[in-house]
Symmetry: D2
Subunit: 346 residues, 4 copies
């Protein structure tokens, strides 16, 4: 059977490069074409020497990628995906967007946080939100998928079963998140210059991060009412991983055992969600280089608080891994194809 021809627009960014790494090991897909604005004409392995001899493909144009691919993944700065989505649509190609352009359903919210507008309302209508563990059936067979961001995968997965069942108050939810540095991208900044980040740790965009409305959108949908949350991201001096420590007040009568049971029920058949046994604590270390989301549950009985902690690889389940999972769903493949990766123990 002919392999799915996969193309990556923005291949030299971190998410793009990780997509290539996963696709190289996918049994039913192969890398058909790559593009990069900054490195057109260069081999991917010139930019990432780790790939020397393994992916020496030359970066071409966006147009070449659309033409040569069955599915186009885009890892672009926000605002640049809409035209590409239209191109793919016109050419009948599936499109999986790792950027933010199609994630928010409300144009006013998009305008407020990202400053742009919905240029192709019909495409926004078609776009589905690619968080398979929560919205799998909507994704199957679709051709325009908005892949969630990293925080917006980790936080909803940590809270979904409790929010959906009404076990926690929708008021006062706090998501204290910590991200590895790759989440900030390949672009150099002074605060990600090695000597300035190393041995440091701080929050950033405190209660002002663009992922906030996206999480609220997902949680509100699950809760059936408007959810507002307080979201504080921090930058960790590690390469990969997001740890989301989520706090929610238990609703009156919500029993820890019942809450745990709801999580077990929700995630029993989810290959990529590992609900950890009691006594274990989720750690970003244990999911690196994979598409897993580890979740541990804790209760502060004194204050009646659920503490749900999730750990993902921000480049895996938080970006490229989930994008491939969505491709698998879109093309009717086994959902785990190419993603049965074992996290290194060290």
């Amino acid at each position: 059977m002919k392999k799915i021809q996969a193309g990556v627009v923005g291949a030299t960014g971190y998410a793009g490069a990780e997509l290539v790494r996963i696709l190289l090991g996918h049994p039913q897909a192969e890398v058909a074409a790559l593009s990069s604005v900054s490195f057109t004409g260069q081999k991917l392995s010139d930019v990432y020497p780790a790939y020397y001899g393994l992916c020496d493909q030359v970066c071409g144009t966006q147009e070449e990628v659309v033409e040569q691919s069955d599915v186009v993944f885009a890892a672009l700065p926000h605002g640049l995906s809409q035209d590409l989505a239209a191109q793919c649509h016109a050419a009948g190609k599936a499109f999986i967007d790792l950027g933010a352009d199609f994630r928010l359903k409300d144009e006013a919210v998009y305008r407020k946080w990202y400053g742009g507008e919905f240029r192709f309302p019909a495409l926004h209508e078609q776009a589905v939100y690619g968080l398979p563990e929560l919205f799998r059936e909507e994704i199957r067979g679709k051709k325009l998928i908005a892949n969630p961001g990293c925080y917006t995968t980790a936080v909803p997965l940590a809270l979904a079963p409790a929010v959906r069942a009404g076990f926690v108050s929708t008021q006062g939810i706090i998501a204290d998140c910590k991200s590895g540095v790759t989440g900030a991208g390949r672009k150099m900044t002074q605060n990600t210059h090695y000597p300035e980040l190393n041995e440091g740790f701080s929050a950033y965009k405190v209660a002002a991060h663009r992922h906030t409305p996206e999480m609220e959108q997902t949680l509100s949908r699950l809760a059936g009412e408007a959810v507002r949350l307080t979201f504080v991201p921090h930058l960790l001096p590690v390469n990969r991983g997001i740890l989301a420590t989520c706090y929610a007040r238990l609703a009156p009568g919500a029993d820890p055992q019942a809450v745990r049971a709801a999580y077990e029920e929700a995630y029993r058949d989810e290959y990529f969600v590992r609900l950890l046994p009691e006594g274990r604590v989720a750690d970003i270390k244990q999911v690196r280089y994979t598409n897993f989301c580890d979740i541990s549950l804790h209760f502060d009985r004194e204050t009646g608080t659920l503490i749900a902690i999730s750990a993902i690889d921000n480049m895996g389940k938080g970006a490229a891994g989930q994008a491939v999972q969505n491709m698998n769903l879109a093309f009717g493949l086994e959902e785990q194809a190419g993603l049965r990766l074992v996290p290194p123990a060290f």
Copy 2:
């Protein structure tokens, strides 16, 4: 003038070693004697080669330290300080305890979290809690000082002005804290073995850490009512620092400008507290190797939440630095003596 003779019991643990480093640079104190159970008879510089040629003193017994010192610092596992305090008391020596034995005022609470009892109630009566920015006047001239722990310095300093003024609800306070590895001590454990911690990050003792009642004691005293908080510590793959991200609901009518003004008023004359200007975010990197506590204030106006972030060096303001600050107060020295340290920029 004769220098104060300072002794350190438990000198080969991390807090003890850091005390020695600070004392070596103190203009009015000098290291008189050291003791260590594990390394009796060995030079401190055999254990810490950084000190080679600078502190080659040999570790003796606890008794020798008491005899040769004007002030005895103890960096011991909990439960072992009470006898030493009694010895110091009998010998008329000042005693500054970096352990937990004299921090909690309520014996029942101590018993619940630490499993021991108050063996010398009269000493517990005398002991003062050594957090100078909050209780300075109680410390001056005293001879038995309970030096707070690291989290229990960072969290109360972050919240004190708001709690004292009633600007936040005393219910639902959350302290999401992240600590450098030295906080776990010099004793080897599998999870602090380099390859297992490196590139990892997780919470531990979730809502079950012994520092919880100590923070609640301090905050309750400031609030004038019982405060319960949810405390989740995490272990950072860096050597030093504590970042405390504290969340509290703003009381009705509490205006962000008024809250900030209360902090400015509270910390205006505090050399060791640096209230950062708006737009800055506290970072553990900026306080390393010093006694500073940096604080930044943030407000989530959508949810009415104060987010107060403090950063200290867990070995500095969180242990040895603060102990020296307490010594200075106890002996009537300038409070900053030996502590005018400039944090390295990188």
Copy 3:
């Protein structure tokens, strides 16, 4: 076709755990049985939570492993493999030893550096040295393979083509090597306690490391004369990788272009050796989690020195990866089976 049943003795050490990770992705082998002295009766995923849900096999005894396996991998402290080899031999099982017991051909040398003796001379006769790029034909189909150590893979691969062709003097060769921390194993030591290693870097066992005679054995065999080298290992604050910076004096008339041509010829068909183009420098980062050995060549024309730098993952090509490569050769499988791993770019 029935998969090869692979067993791992010493599965809870780092090399053992990495073997399991590789075997879990091997298309023609599967993990049949594990053993561990320290963790008998526990699941491997209890020791390494990364493997939760992926390898929850319980560690049994060495005897069980021999019984249930077609091939037994041993990752044991030196001295413990000889009995196990005899057991495997008696049971007709293939045996691949990641320890040192069968690597040295000269018993006197073994005794000098390791302190033991050759207890089964006949087995030592049969044992082949498992460095496929240099001795492939000897390994095919064999049942007792001594897998080289990490330094002893990196250094000979860096120097082999030059030494074999006589392009460098066999006198005065220097191997200045730097190893990631996993090379020191899972056993806790003070100098691999996170706060003491982090931000540090030093040499150890200077000109006194046990791998020295093993490298000399390999290089002497290639040179056809006795080679002595000066070997200084250093410990890097990273998890994985060995960088070997090797210095050798160019023989009179040895031209850099000719030397490079010899390397190209030697490694042209070697999948796992990536001879880097001129201008590139080998970096441990680019081979992590794989079985690759990257080599870059440099010349100091002023002093007539060849500088050959090789980079491997000490747990991959330096241990578990090479062991699987040897298994593939021993069992007549495709040599790259299970080892077509793409190093992550970050």
Copy 4:
């Protein structure tokens, strides 16, 4: 007594910022003025938040620094110090150059490696090379001092006693050096972007680094004959430190005990050189944030090789610390003034 007014040109680079940190603690000097091309008009503490409240001085122009200072330190890219030196000379100010412009005595060598020329030959005549442990008497009272680079401090100090005494061959010396990232400066580059350096390690400018002729100049002077060495620098994923592992062939009859005795004799009275006892190995960790140079000696008796290892803080003894040591000598102060810093143990 009026303090020495010290000015820093290029204060916002790493060496400049470290100079400020040291000067802030100097008992007989104070920071008079700062300049920075990139940050004119900004406070130093805006660039380095660690200095908030401690050095909020505004960066002005180079001219202002010259005018307001008794001594001008320059931390500038090569080629820019010559004019400044002339300005200082004209104004009668002392000048200590942390750049390369005045280090090399031979203009042809300077031109070859740096591409420029000696514009003020008279100044080059006056300039002294500021490596006090080797050339102290030349530095006292001088007004134009070329502060050595980091590698060029570590390597000569490691080899000087052996070279001077003729205990080693001047042929075939190898310096395999490893530097912390601050050595690459504050300027962002892709290879010092956190995710790309972290967990990586490689050599750079192999046998082609500009510090080579500077080391050769120093060693040749000590040897009394032309010395050529092979120098390979590597980049370590740590912030600070240089470890120089130096290999030299022992001359016939050179006895390890005699060699060690020569080192003891040479460094007995040197406060900043710590010759470690036998059995210890120099480690960059133990000299961080100080002006120390630790040296350990090792011998490969099989191959007749001296292995001398030195460790410095590249920003301390390798730049700013040594510059202050030179200032002390130039101004007749106690040589250790402001530099009695205790390296943190962790």
